[in-house]
């Protein structure tokens, strides 16, 4: 998914020159990340160019946003085919270059481009042409002082090799905006598995934000297991543990609350206090 040379960046921190990629695990993750990208752009009066497989796309991030007319342009890529049915990156690049040039003539400080390229994988020779196309986009976007781009692709459709090859054509790996972030704690939604990733330290100074983030995930879940990735969590207080236990108890009957990658120092606390015996809470991957 990532290469050593790629930078991870929350979507709100993308800047001009970033050619980011989003290998989404499903529609929830795609809409969450792309929705933030589109919504933030509309609110800041940036130009949005949305390249889609067809023109009847339901663009994420539009709900409840009153955008200035003309800010969003949807470019259907249904025609980006060679006569033999194969994927034609030339058409994509021409459409993109044309839109960017048009936007640059406008008074937009930033042009946000995003494309779901998954459709290209279905076409004959699609992956090879897609890689070629990505290299062109990389060369076009990286030096730009105005263009920010996110290439979306459905991760489930990619082989490991294809994923590595595609990752290598992007300088940045885009992640969801944190649900909460300050100098002590960061909470980020995860989608595969569904849950939250917690980084930093968690105590009563930040119980409220944990509660809010948990409720959001629970509200969006469909009864599946909820996973908390604790690999980056250096401290958790008894109150937060109690909150997790309460959530687990409320969910009894549906999927359990799974605690993944719990650091050793937290495990020491759990074992001393004995909370691992609570039903509904489960230790997941180490």
């Amino acid at each position: 998914m990532e290469t050593l040379s790629s930078v991870r960046r929350p979507v709100r921190e993308l800047r001009p020159g970033d050619h980011a990629w989003l290998a989404y695990s499903g529609e929830d993750e795609q809409r969450h990340v792309v929705g933030s990208f589109v919504r933030d752009g509309l609110e800041a009066a940036h130009k949005i160019i949305y390249l889609a497989g067809s023109d009847d796309v339901d663009v994420p991030g539009m709900h409840g946003v009153r955008a200035r007319p003309g800010l969003l342009t949807v470019v259907p890529l249904a025609d980006a085919r060679r006569p033999d049915g194969g994927f034609d990156p030339g058409t994509v690049l021409a459409a993109l270059t044309g839109e960017i040039a048009g936007a640059e003539d406008g008074d937009y400080t930033t042009i946000r481009v995003t494309a779901d390229m998954t459709f290209a994988l279905d076409l004959p020779g699609g992956l090879g042409e897609l890689l070629r196309c990505e290299r062109h986009i990389e060369r076009a976007v990286c030096p730009s002082t105005r263009v920010t781009a996110i290439c979306q692709i459905d991760r489930r459709r990619l082989s490991a090799d294809a994923r590595t090859a595609l990752a290598a054509t992007h300088s940045t790996f885009v992640t969801p905006n944190p649900e909460f972030a300050d100098s002590v704690l960061q909470i980020v939604r995860t989608f595969d598995p569904v849950g939250l990733s917690l980084l930093g330290e968690l105590d009563a100074s930040r119980h409220t934000v944990l509660d809010e983030a948990l409720n959001k995930v629970l509200g969006a879940s469909r009864g599946e297991e909820i996973h908390l990735d604790l690999a980056g969590l250096g401290f958790i207080d008894l109150g937060a543990l109690n909150m997790l236990a309460d959530v687990a108890a409320r969910r009894s009957g549906t999927g359990p609350l799974v605690l993944d990658r719990m650091p050793l120092q937290l495990r020491t606390i759990m074992e001393t206090v004995g909370w691992h015996m609570l039903p509904g809470l489960r230790l997941g991957t180490v």
Partner: protein, 347 residues
């Protein structure tokens, strides 16, 4: 800190979650003072045999030498007894109470009775630790009351002065051979507990590191405690336990206490001490996190109970002048010279 418990907290919750089994026998907690091994056997063997015959879960927690004597006398019946070593069984007061209570409740749930012959390890304990174990003996009467457990505690008369005498205040009855006699000096567990805490704690040393807690981002309190503890031989695991315990106690003080709140840290021989003081007064005398919370939850100081599990010893004094919670953690080989001075900042 009166009123509602901090949402923080809970203890070793027990595996059974709804309702309790009932056992026909009533809870018993007896002391068996002995001079010679034969006295101990005279009281212990009928106690153990009664349990084996009655289908109880029977435990014998004593010294290795006594295990051998008991096995010898019980013969084939010894197969019905689980043997444990006192030093390990009686390693930590609160954890001991939690684990034994869990065994008793699990047995009760299975319609069985937990029956323990125990010989608490009193040797090598200092006065503070000794009184903490005496507190556990007293609280046992309240904590186990509904479990139907049968607990027989053997006390050698060679123990330090006062230990056997105190045992008659913390056990309702004495076993002598097959006979059971009430202890006239037996005290209500909560009164006994309050009496243990009636005297003031020795004052914190003048050179203790002092941290007034003005701006309550708890993160900075942990930074400070970590800076101090890292200059001592406190093991990393115990530092993590201390950080959770301190965070809980300061959280409680911020929520329920009254300012000014202060944190002090110092070293004593073999111990790191961390004290949190505030001007509030806990009105409710019972509890103090001494009994593991019921799994069903409800009001109670769950946090304080967990804090007792996390530290070697927790001392609490509360009154009109304010409240002091002192957390003690054993430190291997504390140097004679305390760590170099840290800048004292207010956070």
């Amino acid at each position: 800190m009166e009123g509602k418990a901090a949402p923080g907290a809970f203890g070793r919750r027990r595996p059974t979650l709804t309702g309790w089994g009932t056992v026909s026998q009533a809870f018993s907690h007896r002391v068996l003072p002995y001079d010679r091994a034969d006295d101990l056997l005279d009281g212990a063997l009928p106690f153990l045999r009664e349990g084996i015959e009655g289908g109880d879960r029977v435990l014998a927690v004593t010294t290795l030498a006594m295990h051998m004597l008991l096995r010898d006398k019980l013969g084939a019946d010894a197969a019905g007894v689980e043997f444990f070593d006192s030093d390990r069984w009686y390693a930590h007061p609160a954890r001991h109470l939690a684990d034994t209570l869990a065994l008793a409740e699990t047995a009760a749930w299975q319609k069985r009775r937990l029956r323990v012959l125990g010989e608490p390890a009193w040797a090598r304990r200092g006065p503070a630790e000794r009184s903490e174990w005496q507190r556990i003996e007293a609280i046992t009467n309240a904590a186990f009351a509904d479990t139907g457990a049968a607990l027989l505690c053997a006390y050698s008369r060679t123990l330090p002065a006062g230990v056997v005498a105190a045992s008659r205040q913390t056990h309702p009855e004495t076993t002598r051979g097959r006979a059971t006699l009430p202890n006239p000096g037996y005290q209500d567990p909560w009164l006994y507990n309050a009496r243990l805490d009636s005297g003031p704690l020795p004052p914190a040393p003048d050179d203790a590191f002092d941290l007034p807690i003005d701006v309550p981002d708890l993160y900075w309190i942990r930074v400070y405690v970590t800076d101090f503890a890292r200059r001592t031989p406190l093991p990393e695991d115990d530092l993590q336990r201390l950080l959770v315990a301190v965070t809980e106690v300061v959280t409680n003080a911020l929520r329920h206490g009254r300012p000014p709140i202060a944190l002090r840290l110092w070293l004593e021989p073999g111990e790191l001490v961390c004290e949190v003081t505030d001007r509030g007064h806990w009105t409710e005398r019972t509890g103090f996190g001494l009994i593991p919370p019921k799994p069903a939850g409800g009001a109670g100081r769950f946090g304080l109970w967990a804090v007792r599990l996390l530290c070697s010893l927790v001392q609490i004094r509360t009154g009109r002048d304010g409240t002091t919670v002192r957390l003690r953690l054993q430190v291997p080989g504390v140097p004679a010279v305390p760590p170099i001075n840290l800048p004292v900042n207010s956070v």
